[in-house]
Symmetry: C2
């Protein structure tokens, strides 16, 4: 099956106008996608890099840099691990990472588009497409380079085989109840107290058992907002806090001591996502508050160390910063170390694509939803052909074939940057 | 002083034809530069990202993404730390890293161009421009975010103050003798045995006391080549080996056991540059062979951990993967932990720019050349207006103002990709 063309679109949403998505490090994001359409003889696959505005064109350039490796070549849907390695091991493009930054994100978008296509060809939503593979097939998707000191392919096969009993029951339960979610909608830093209180109250009424607040810009403000949120939701609802990498190690520890009276459930991104040892030090100091990170963790090697060092309680993979094949490796590592995966989502389209990974994890890898929640943000879902559905605080399991990554043609056209109507009409 | 324009050039050299630069991970590099010219009212500054071919255009796109933050703004040559932070803290562009990959390399190229200009305006080579700053001024260049658990700005000032005695003598010695170099010229993987033996013999005759061999593709071959090299140079010359990230942790340990009889001095890039804990495990296992890495280490946070974890004996910063301000922080961290810095060089222009950092380190930071050597590769120097000069195995201290980053206009024109004459005329 031949790849006919690789299209890349620069698509941006002017979200900074409403301070949706504002946090201590990212005051004015314009949620954006470097959007891929992989045209093949068997149909189209869709994927994207998620960015927050400026620089989206760099991801578009990076996607185009892979074109000579993709267009015109045979795509074997039974060897998507090999396809991904062909992109990720290209020595010249790898030099720009290695395995991080714009080229790694671009490769992930293309790999995800190939999985979207493969699931569509199989007539299954991606979560079921992955869960239906044999353990050996799942293990073959991953790139095991740099991982074998923590987990070997043979051990991973064993781990997946151990998870097979109960699969049918879990799948039925997932289809019936969905996958547990938490919501970040109330907690953006730019929101007023009234808006925070109203959205927090609504979240509880809608069935969510966890919300998340952005923190890290001003300690007194954070203490006040956290107190307000705790008062509104009561003691039975988990409140996670998220500093978006704002602090040094010592600062993180001090700040969390001040927030401790309000019983934060986890502190997310307390410091640089590169700082494995820093997260380990913070975790030791702020327990029983949990430490979470992952949305900016560059690759499986970094996650391996976060797990080896005992640096995190919660692993927050992102469905677009690395592709499906690498996320399969990350899910296997998390299972090996017994750390729950609570993925990052939000932005544009991240909820749509990442739900498939959590559901695959539940059915075929960890086999559990214990202490696992999937982030939900109520933004921009209307631009997708198969948007997420939240029912009583749970993600409903998608039934349509594919990875739910496809944007509506009119959304692509209107939000094309800089020529689309939305950008031309901005005041 | 206003920035008038930010130019970005895609410049490539067809080095893959001769297998110059071939190693176990990079079989066919075409050394390339995403080259920056910073035009200001006070003159021009030059800098570049180094890449190995495909993807150079992604760095060009990333440089252009910074244009709105640079062109038309005032550049205060007395606050280059602030200028660098203005680029590196841009939240939207930072999202593509953070602080890694194409955008981080692009910011580094622009920051380096600003330092090239500042040194030219001061009428000094960069090494002397930096060494003549007061300790507080040097410390103000660095971005201390994420570093304070290992080194505070106040401690860094103290460290620099402690290094002040003997400066004049060191500077005089440097100008007289130069800075010790080692050569990678003999060791590329694609070279024949005859070429390896001839170049190794020549290196010793020219006064080098250390050479480096690429390894990692085939163990039997490596044992044979290492034996040949040791036979040619004798026991008194250090032979470093470089695996260019080819191995997993266990593999690295086994491979180095097989090479141990030939007394390798250091093993460079045994595994992923992201694997701090992996390097620490390898170091424990292969001692007394030293462990070195750095050319692909993304930023100061990763170096901080390599030092905190006792993972490296030799720190190999690269002058282009991060900019001068970040390399100042890295030199300070290395001094704090007592680890010698032996920078990565080679490629195109890396020798020219990095020599300034080693010489600054010697005069003003570590104050020592003990166990410090600067990589030298005899490639492509003829394209620079102020090329490095090697005298009896030492880099001669540059005397011309600036960072030695400027390419000749005819080299830029001939190697412009894809339109330059060198590329048009390729068979």
């Amino acid at each position: 099956m031949k790849v006919i063309a690789l299209e890349a679109h620069d698509v941006r949403f002017p979200t900074s106008a409403a301070l949706d998505g504002s946090d201590a490090m990212n005051p004015d994001p314009d949620y954006s996608a470097a959007y891929v359409v992989l045209h093949t003889e068997a149909g189209d696959g869709h994927g994207f890099c998620f960015t927050i505005g400026r620089g989206n064109e760099v991801c578009v350039a990076a996607i185009r840099a892979y074109e000579p490796l993709v267009t015109g070549r045979d795509l074997d849907l039974d060897d998507l691990g090999g396809f991904a390695k062909g992109l990720l091991h290209d020595s010249q493009l790898r030099w720009l990472g290695p395995e991080k930054g714009a080229v790694h994100m671009a490769a992930a978008a293309i790999v995800n588009a190939a999985f979207d296509l493969a699931a569509k060809v199989a007539g299954k939503p991606l979560w079921r497409f992955l869960a239906d593979l044999a353990p050996e097939q799942i293990v073959d998707l991953a790139d095991w380079r740099y991982l074998t000191d923590a987990l070997t392919p043979a051990d991973a096969v064993g781990l997946l085989a151990d998870a097979r009993p109960g699969r049918a029951e879990r799948e039925a339960r997932l289809v019936e109840r969905g996958y547990p979610a938490y919501t970040t909608t109330p907690g953006w830093l730019g929101y007023t107290d009234d808006k925070l209180a109203r959205l927090a109250r609504e979240a509880v009424a809608e069935g969510f058992t966890q919300i998340k607040l952005k923190v890290g810009a001003d300690l007194d403000e954070d203490v006040r907002r956290m107190g307000l949120a705790r008062e509104v939701v009561g003691p039975g609802i988990r409140i996670a806090v998220d500093a978006n990498q704002r602090w040094d190690v010592g600062q993180a520890i001090e700040w969390m001591r001040a927030l401790a009276p309000f019983d934060p459930y986890w502190i997310e991104e307390p410091t640089s996502p590169d700082d494995v040892l820093g997260h380990a030090a913070i975790r030791r100091a702020v327990a029983p508050v949990k430490v979470a990170t992952g949305e900016h963790v560059a690759n499986r090697v970094m996650f391996k160390q976060l797990l080896q060092a005992g640096a995190i309680d919660v692993l927050q993979l992102d469905a677009c910063r690395v592709g499906v094949t690498e996320n399969v490796a990350i899910l296997l590592l998390a299972a090996r170390f017994g750390v729950p995966v609570c993925p990052h989502a939000g932005g544009v389209g991240l909820c749509e694509v990442v739900q498939h990974l959590s559901m695959f994890d539940y059915v075929a890898v960890s086999g559990s939803t214990q202490d696992r929640v999937l982030e939900y943000v109520d933004h921009l879902h209307e631009h997708f052909t198969d948007p997420v559905r939240i029912v009583r605080g749970h993600y409903a399991a998608p039934a349509e074939p594919g990875m739910s990554a496809e944007m509506k043609p009119e959304s692509l056209a209107d939000h094309a940057y800089p020529g689309g109507s939305v950008w031309r009409d901005l005041p």
